[in-house]
Amino acid sequence: MKWVGQPIPRLRDPVLLKGKGRFTADIAVGAMAIRFVRSPVARGTICGIEIPEGAVVFTAADITDIKPLRPILHGRNYVPTDQPILANKRVTYVGEPVAAVIAATQSEAEDIAEQVMLDIDVLDPAIDVDEALKPDAPRVHDQAPGNVLVETSLKTPGFDAVWAKAAQVVEVDIRSRRQNAMPMETRNAHAVFDHSTGRVTLYTSVQNPHPIRTGIADVLGMPETDLRVVAPDVGGGFGQKMALVPEYVFAVWVARKLEASVAWIEDRNENLIASFHSRDQHHTVKAAFDENAKLIALEADLRCNVGAYSNYPITCGVEPLMAMSELPGPYDLREYSVRTRGVTTNTCPMAPYRGVSRPVLTLSMERIMNLAADRFGLDPVEMRRRNLITEFPYKTVTGSLYDAGTYWESLERSAEVLDLKGFRERQKKAREEGRYLGIGFSVFNERSGYGTPTFAARGMEITPGYETVEMAMDPSGYVIARIGASPHGQGLETGLSQIIADELGIEPSRIRIISGDTDATPYGWGTFASRSLVLAGGASKLAAEQMRERLNKIAGHLLQAPPEEIELAGGVARRRGHEGSVEITALARAAHHQSQLFGGGGPGLTTIATYDPAGTFSNACHSAIVEVDIETGHVKIERFLVVEDAGILINPMIVDGQIHGGVVQGIANALFEEIIYDETGNILTGSLMDFIPPTMSEVPTIEIEHLETLTDASITKAKGIGEGGTIGPPAAIINAISDALKPFGVEIFEIPATPPRIRQLIREAAKEKS
């Protein structure tokens, strides 16, 4: 039996279910508390900081030996920013750490923090992305006169000539409001000084312990080896926990300074206002079509609000550059003119959030397809049929290479499952009863599982990508695999165990995956960008193949057979077509304790492998049927369907779980969640009551169908699945709402489409009509 493809239960669950997981705050019980005093204003000059008598409080003046965070991107007119660990002379966003209180307990630290008085001369801030681009806007950083930190453009040589031949031009103005990834466990940093070695162990809820360690060691000017970073159980990340933040640096610095054990456990308000935000984008996109409704050229102006500082190590290029390179998505396009900008403002910095830009760019493209369908009098499926890429491999206008996918098939199947024709009849009938139903489709692809060949093209000084796995079989025949990826809820341990189990002919329960500890794992980039199963899975397969060869050799010796005729299955090695076998545990024992018999390769059973592919493209069609209450603006999702293609499914149960979670984050993006700043830069959504993450009552049953394209771009033939769920829902839902509101002439271009926004559009449309 093959383990790959089985929906086996996850290996780590019993521990988590019994409440025996070890999250950072659990490990930190008893440590001294750090409490940050944060800026209450968006922009200003620090005139003084008054510290209560006898309190232990650090400010910028105390930490002059720490370098600022300075992420670097090459080219793209990138303007570097220096983010101080504690605000120095000026504050640049609400929530920026200004001072740090150390006290015996959390409540004492909070008491003292309330008594720290900040004297700040308030200056006018730049908040909104478009306002910040105006010539007279306040300047966030002196070195960036127009508030642009990254800018690039592209125009294909034939663009103007083809544009001039357009039969129809469709324009959209898409506004995506700001979101917070909102992991259930907030950020944290628990730094423990070891008196016997002088080393510090930092327990922290991050997705990428190795790069985090590099960043901290660099700004503290310490050897990386003297810092151990451990990501224990991590309560969700979604991108928010892959960037280095001043708080982690300070915790390590102060643990060394005081030779003590300290902990910063972020509260929810801090997380909402001062962790990282994302998706604050404004797209103006024009699409030219020929008379056959074929897209012939695309022109786009993309503005992304990247907040006050660039994030380390990915940089603030992540949203604007991704938006530019992947805007055309699954559609065939040869002529493209685009300008993209990362705009700095006096707001919380932007970092990747599950899906990165693609929820927004998919919304832009899919709104265009719907508007164009109306223009040509086509139904949305036919419109897309004429434009989706069906021949692979396909080289895009921005230079990406799409491996095989099922762009058209996923849409065709979705229309079939939702019975598009039947739905139109039902919709008509409902309208006669004053009920407004709509259907929306969203077809997209997603670059996943990519290594350094792809990351290098982005020009980051720190180029992520490869993953390494170190594998060992111990004398008892159990396998340990140490990985550089850093799973935090995805169930990667289980998937990797299934891949390794198939190679070695043993059960997954005999495999232990070690991750999230820089002392115990090879250097790697962590878990993000829908990569870990492809990358760490590929490296696991390669390391296990080497292990299998070693085992075959030993088995060949013991069974007096050529190694190439040995097969491993069901815990034993046997010669193909022959009687007699030897237990794999006996091979493991012999490898360690009778190594003199086998010669070559040395004693023991250890292997190491690295996998670093260019990447693959997953794809999906998301579709929604909604009902809009025109009196209240409330949207009810009646059905939500995902037809996706992530290649071979290593563990179908886990894949479905990833899709469910992603889709609900996407629904939140489409309908509910929004970080709102007022014009002074104060956040109005500082609690979960205001941010409105969906509960079980707000989400429909998510229907899923799988297509399986066997790609050569991934050695396990698995594609990434982590982010896809989040990408499709905004476009599917907004298209569905717009379809429902056709009788009113309402089209939606802004997310989240909250009831007040929908009501306002209906009112405005009614006014225009009268």
Binding site: K18, A25, V29, G236, G489, T695
Partner: protein
């Protein structure tokens, strides 16, 4: 800082004596004074429900109560569900149906669901969704949590 009070908490049938400030939150006392860190804090303002425990068999937010308020009550936390290595039916259902991913909100959901199913073993689907909407999860999209609790509803019927 104010004077500490003597408080005795009864958690999972075991007594814990402690001296705490009157403002000490129940969740903090459970985690730090009792050392039961399975109860998690997700928001500390009563919205997310990660800190849900059972107090005299009713689900409560332990982040919104003071430790002193729990004197004399029988408290149950996630650590009290399993009997040794034998999982409680609600835990087994969450495992079987992939009702958890990162596991951070899980203890709160397990205690909420246990309380709801114990109080009303025949609870209808609609009412169940309503009750489970008390807590937030960011990973699962709730699909498999609901599936798991429905399965446990069958298992736990007296």
């Amino acid at each position: 800082m104010t004077e500490k009070l003597d408080v005795t908490l009864s958690v999972n049938g075991k007594r814990y004596e402690m001296k705490v400030e009157p403002r000490r939150m129940l969740a903090d006392a459970i985690r730090e004074e009792c050392g039961l860190t399975g109860t998690h804090l997700g928001c500390e303002h009563g919205v997310c429900g990660a800190c849900t425990i059972l107090m005299d068999d009713k689900p409560v937010r332990s982040c919104l109560m003071f430790a002193v308020q729990a004197e004399g009550a029988e408290l149950r936390t996630v650590e009290g569900l399993a009997k040794g290595n034998e999982l409680h039916p609600i835990q087994q259902a969450f495992w079987d149906h992939h009702g958890l991913q990162c596991g951070f909100c899980t203890p709160g959901f397990l205690m909420l669901a246990t309380g709801v199913l114990e109080q009303n073993p025949n609870i209808g689907d609609e009412e169940l969704v309503h009750a489970l909407s008390s807590n937030l999860c960011r990973c699962t999209g709730y699909q498999n949590i609901l599936k798991a609790v429905k399965a446990a509803r069958e298992e736990m019927k007296p």
